[in-house]
Symmetry: C2
Subunit: 470 residues, 2 copies
């Protein structure tokens, strides 16, 4: 275990001189604001929060903290679901929210260079204005930042066709834990020059360095899409249909699964919806098809409908105007919020090869029965990525704190046995680190830790994340 230095008045004065008083926060209320993300009800405030404005300022902060053995937790826009932004060991909370510029939108090369604090939807909109497309769309796209997306390798519904955040990154400017500034690659679509530091940084959850600029790929805007909401009387059948759609030669731009309970929570939370759900419906698939040519999209809709019929699908709602599409997508995007409004919950972000989804879902329900918990399952079925919201409800503190971790371990063991892993798009962070031994054997874990040690020999950057022992 590392011995960290506590923040002193001298440290604070140093930061004030470096950044100006307006970028240094040490009031308890403010620190609590910097001490949470969207993970459960956890709050771990830093001892001081800083809002630097440039890579050079970040570099100064890191150099100082490296020398002084002060822990540093990078903080994005605090929408994370694995506790990556929590200042577990106090120290400096390094918020990137003021570094939120679009540095350059290069229309000639279809690239955009941005700072980490930029909100994902603002990036998407800037691209759309120029007829271009940045596809990754986490459900929190209106509030999450690109730095956090990079740190956690965020996904979203469109990942099934367009890939996750990692697939859109060309090059990163990174401040290392010792304050040195590097670029990880080049601004090119291909690169076979040295080890792939870019992809090592993406998904490293702020434990290897602080991303201060990102060069991202853009593609021509895809103008048209249609969504289909398909009800099933069996959740297993719905899951089985997912893999069949791809085998029929169709790659939807989104393919989401929601079990009955998810819809019920939503309807309770948001009773403005006009969508009618039959009593017999046990699950829905929400399928989006996109492209440039509407005729072709409708042809694909028909093919999808033919596939779904084989899995006892009910009447499909086809949404091809903006209002309809907004309504059914609002249901999907607000499930997390709806569940949270009713009960404390833990969210698991399991991912398996997509054909294994029915087996995973059935296994989760069986484990829930054995341990006595209720779960709401939904997610990006096209990617095999199932979000499992475990509801606290009437569970006792003992059940919640002592027994549930065992149940979660069983869920992850099942996931890994199906060729899957612990997290598809939320990261490991603070809340899943105890389960890393399920996904990695000792040799593999040692390799991960040794890589961490190369970047951060003093162990000051985002300690208490990813690994049990830091």
């Amino acid at each position: 275990m590392n011995q960290f230095t506590k923040i002193t008045a001298t440290h604070i004065t140093h930061f004030q001189e470096l950044l100006g008083d307006e970028n240094v926060f040490f009031d308890t209320v403010q620190l609590n604001e910097f001490g949470h993300d969207e993970t459960e009800d956890l709050v771990f405030p830093p001892e001081v929060a800083l809002t630097p404005r440039s890579a050079e300022q970040v570099s100064h902060i890191m150099k100082f903290c490296h020398q002084e053995h002060v822990p540093v937790t990078p903080i994005g826009s605090q929408t994370g679901l694995s506790g990556g932004a929590l200042s577990i060991h106090g120290g400096v909370g390094l918020s990137l929210k003021k570094m939120n510029a679009i540095v350059e939108l290069d229309e000639k090369n279809l690239q955009i260079t941005v700072e980490p604090g930029l909100i994902t939807e603002e990036l998407q909109n800037a691209a759309i204005e120029k007829g271009l497309f940045y596809a990754p769309d986490p459900s929190s796209k209106g509030s999450c930042s690109i730095g956090g997306n990079l740190a956690e390798n965020a996904g979203g519904p469109r990942a099934v066709k367009y890939g996750v955040t990692k697939d859109w990154v060309l090059n990163l400017e990174v401040v290392l834990p010792n304050g040195e500034i590097i670029w990880t690659g080049s601004n090119t679509l291909k690169n076979s020059t040295g080890y792939n530091l870019t992809q090592l940084m993406v998904g490293s959850e702020g434990t290897l360095g602080i991303i201060t600029k990102a060069v991202l790929k853009l593609i021509p805007f895809v103008p048209n899409n249609v969504s289909m909401l398909a009800p099933f009387t069996s959740a297993t059948k719905a899951c089985e249909a997912v893999s069949a759609i791809f085998r029929a030669g169709i790659t939807p731009s989104a393919l989401e699964f929601m079990e009955r309970d998810a819809l019920d929570w939503i309807m309770k939370f948001d009773n403005s919806s006009s969508i009618h759900i039959e009593d017999s419906t046990q699950a829905h698939l929400l399928i989006e098809l996109d492209g440039t040519n509407m005729d072709l999209i409708y042809q694909d809709c028909e093919k999808v409908a033919e596939v779904l019929e084989k899995f006892d699908c009910g009447e499909i709602l086809l949404a091809d105007n903006e209002a309809q599409k907004a309504e059914i997508w609002r249901l999907r995007r607000r499930i997390g919020e709806a569940v949270k409004s009713n009960s404390v919950y833990k969210e698991e972000d399991t991912v398996v090869p997509r054909f294994e989804l029915p087996t995973l879902l059935e296994g989760v329900k069986k484990i829930g029965k054995a341990y006595g918990f209720q779960s709401v399952c939904y997610g990006h079925a096209g990617d095999g990525n199932l979000h499992i919201n475990i509801i606290k409800g009437n569970l006792t503190e003992h059940q919640w704190n002592q027994e549930l971790p065992e149940a979660i371990r069983e869920i992850f063991e099942l996931t890994v046995s199906l060729g899957g892993t612990l997290s598809g798009e939320h990261g490991i962070g603070y809340v899943q680190k105890n389960y890393m031994d399920i996904a990695f054997n000792k040799t593999e874990l040692l390799l991960l830790k040794s890589i961490k040690n190369v970047f951060d020999p003093n162990g000051i950057l985002n300690p208490g994340k990813l690994f049990v022992t830091t």
Copy 2:
């Protein structure tokens, strides 16, 4: 510099006991066969060549060599263009050619698990038989192996739409230099669980571990395509047209550039071609458009033609039957071979953001003029990936060995100043390692070397590659 142990009769006996006599080669003629790839005329034979049949055998070999400080050079199908498979320091040449099985083609999850020695085209054909698609298509696809593709992060024409080898890898089984066997990830389309060891391994040129199994993604087969061969009276105009095609909203499935000289070499080498080239033509673009719907493909062809007209394009040859397509692609695929048949040459694999291609091309010609060398330029223009074949021709040995490295340095400096890097798809290997300081500063190089040291503390795996000092 590492002190390596020479191979002794005892070592050979040990290997024979482990692998059987038929998998141990130490005859000079045989060793010379294992001592080259397709890089220039270089030959560096190992002291003993081994052809293991399983990951367990590879593990035994590595454990032994790790303990004995014997250097090991992984050898694929010897089609590399950066000298990655050359046994610079002698020792063991570890050929993976007998590990060439398709372990499993999982139609339900659209995944294929293969051994590294499998020829890329055989993998593609196995997928096609099931109506599936593995897109990466290096020009050497009929003879290169998937292990080599992974090691060098190989590309090919279709990378412009479908990505390079790295974009098709889900999970890798790897034998580490000390003999331990790991899996780098999970068999899932998304993964936010720990550092991305998979992408760290891809493109690491056999310096971090030996890939013994790869789980690769497949997609539904894309049935239709059309190719267009477009002549230009100016190579610069041809390059300028490349970026304009994407800005018009079209993503071709291939977008290749060939300057006049490339075609002339080909016509000399292969006079069976019926394609007529006007005297005034200075360059061609070869554009492929693919999809499921032929009408849509033809519509896109028209859009492309409209764009090309703005750049003074001549009469476009539209190839929509198999014979025509085969003929124009044969021209493109055989350029390297044609140049090689006439002269010793060095090939650079520069890559820049695609709009910078005209500037790069003009710079290369200017540097050629200053140093007195002729070059043949062609490549994957859609990716900004320009292959520069520098012809030895009448250059003196002094010019070739002493002056040319300076000229190449100037080319790479130009490349990097344009936001590009040294290699897009061939790797650094043996022949470009002296230029790594152009792409990476000291901090970045130290980071790369420290990562190497984590995996291979004894420095036995593929020494003499990537870095100047190993």
